[in-house]
């Protein structure tokens, strides 16, 4: 399978985007909230129905947006932590060796990881695709690998 054509007017260092990967960029039309574009990338046309793809990304977006929505408990937790000089964060739940404030945002990102894993098993896997957890990509893109051409 050939890689995509080089750009016109480009120099000798040709930029070849990976032919077996499709990228879903961030959607900033609603501001800085965590949201990915629901538009089906060109490389996935014919590999996955558009409605399915839109639904999958929509569900991930819902979880991510919930991560950054301030609920009363989040505000109270922050207030309490502030009053203790943020020393309360040291006492909170630890993950592996590092103590991190495990507030709702971290838990939401973990549930996104579990959801991506689930989708890989049920939706993408049977279509020879694999979705990479956006946390692995710094929430910049959702990378979808085409396992078979």
């Amino acid at each position: 399978m050939s890689s995509s054509k080089p750009l016109p007017n480009s120099s000798s260092a040709t930029i070849l985007p990976p032919a077996n990967k499709a990228f879903v960029p961030r959607d900033y039309s609603h501001g800085t909230e965590l949201r990915f574009s629901t538009e089906l990338p060109a490389k996935l046309q014919g590999r996955i129905p558009e409605e399915v793809f839109t639904a999958v990304i929509g569900n991930i977006n819902q979880l991510l947006i919930a991560a950054e929505t301030g609920s009363a408990s989040v505000y109270l937790e922050s207030c309490f932590a502030c009053l203790t000089g943020y020393l309360a964060y040291i006492c909170m739940e630890t993950q592996y060796e590092k103590p991190i404030p495990v507030n709702s945002t971290t838990k939401c990102l973990r549930s996104v990881s579990r959801l991506v894993e689930e989708y890989n098993r049920t939706v993408f896997g049977p279509r020879n695709l694999s979705m990479i957890d956006p946390s692995e990509r710094g929430l910049r893109v959702i990378e979808i690998v085409l396992l078979r051409p």
């Binding site: 990976p18 800085t32 301030g70 922050s78 709702s104 991506v116 049977p126 957890d133 690998v145």
Partner: protein
Amino acid sequence: MPKRWEVYPGKSQVLCSGRCISAKNLSVFYLTLALIVISSCLFLAFDCRLLAVTLSPSVPVLAAVQFIFVLCCLLRTTFSDPGIIPRGTPDEAAWIESQLEGPQVDRDGNYRPPVRLKDVQINGRVFKLKYCFTCKLWRPPRSSHCSTCDNCVDRFDHHCPWVGNCVGRRNYRYFYLFLISLSVYCLYVMVFGIVNLVLLIMIFSLTLAPPTLTVLTILVAFFSIWSVVGLGGFHTMLICRETSTNEDIKGSFNQRRHPDLINPFDQGNGLANCCFVLFGPVTPSLLNFREDEIGLGSSISLVTNNGRNGASAAAASTAVTATPAVRYSNLTRNNNDAASNSVGHVNNSVQVISESLPAQLPGDGNDVIVKNGNGAPADGVISGGTDAVGVTSVADCIV
């Protein structure tokens, strides 16, 4: 297997094996720390002796509490991730840059540099997103690239040498509380230093040695107040308007210059903005420094590594099955020249590997035996899906 902090490409300083991050040059931060600690020690050791006896023992106690609070806020600001956006992978960079218009020469023979802006509408206002060539990513709105630390930082406020770090989305509240608490503390120290001086004069009528240290503490507090209170007031105003220093300097939401400009991030009233900025949810650090680097050229023994970390089997399986394709692409890169970013070769290798994998899983199909690079079963047996077919199931276990 290197950890992510070991391969971090920016100019920030990573400390405590990936638990802390700060600017490389901390000399001004040490000055700040020294001023605060030394003044506090002098105040507590000398001034509070008389004040505790004549006024109340709560004077030194309150001073100590404030001192600890100020230190906590300062250390949190200095050593926490300000909201650094991890750099894009080479594949992402190739994808984005292939979509940008290349450098062109127009009809008049003028050179036009590559276009790296794109417009996006946010709540009725057009924003220009910039592509950062250093970090290989489209900069989210409100983020900016810090040249001192060589990172893109989300909701970049400014790089503060006094604090020794960038101030961004994740540590802005600590920075602001540091300013406010330090303002209050400076006032407290100055006021009670003056009270102590007055008491000394009244009780001992200057028969003792001149209280130089007390005067020194008062002077330090007095001169600090001007800058700290001023900066605190400025940031209070910024928070109420939901603007960052960077945006204020650039005049992004300056209504006088552009009357039709609105701040789409403004929540409506100052109090709501304050609550959101200071007590709202915090994105966890996207750097994930303590995890293994599974990028280019990394080995494929990740499962055994996670298994030994003491995490539960469920967590280990989550870690493995969550990103099967990443391991897949690592496999191809290891088979090719890992040093080169020749993405053109990747697809052929993926095809070769996927065709050579057995269609059926070993065992009864319910449990997936994870193999490490030598082909021997690795620690732990991970339960995989039974309904996945062919390559997928094997992709779940291929490490």
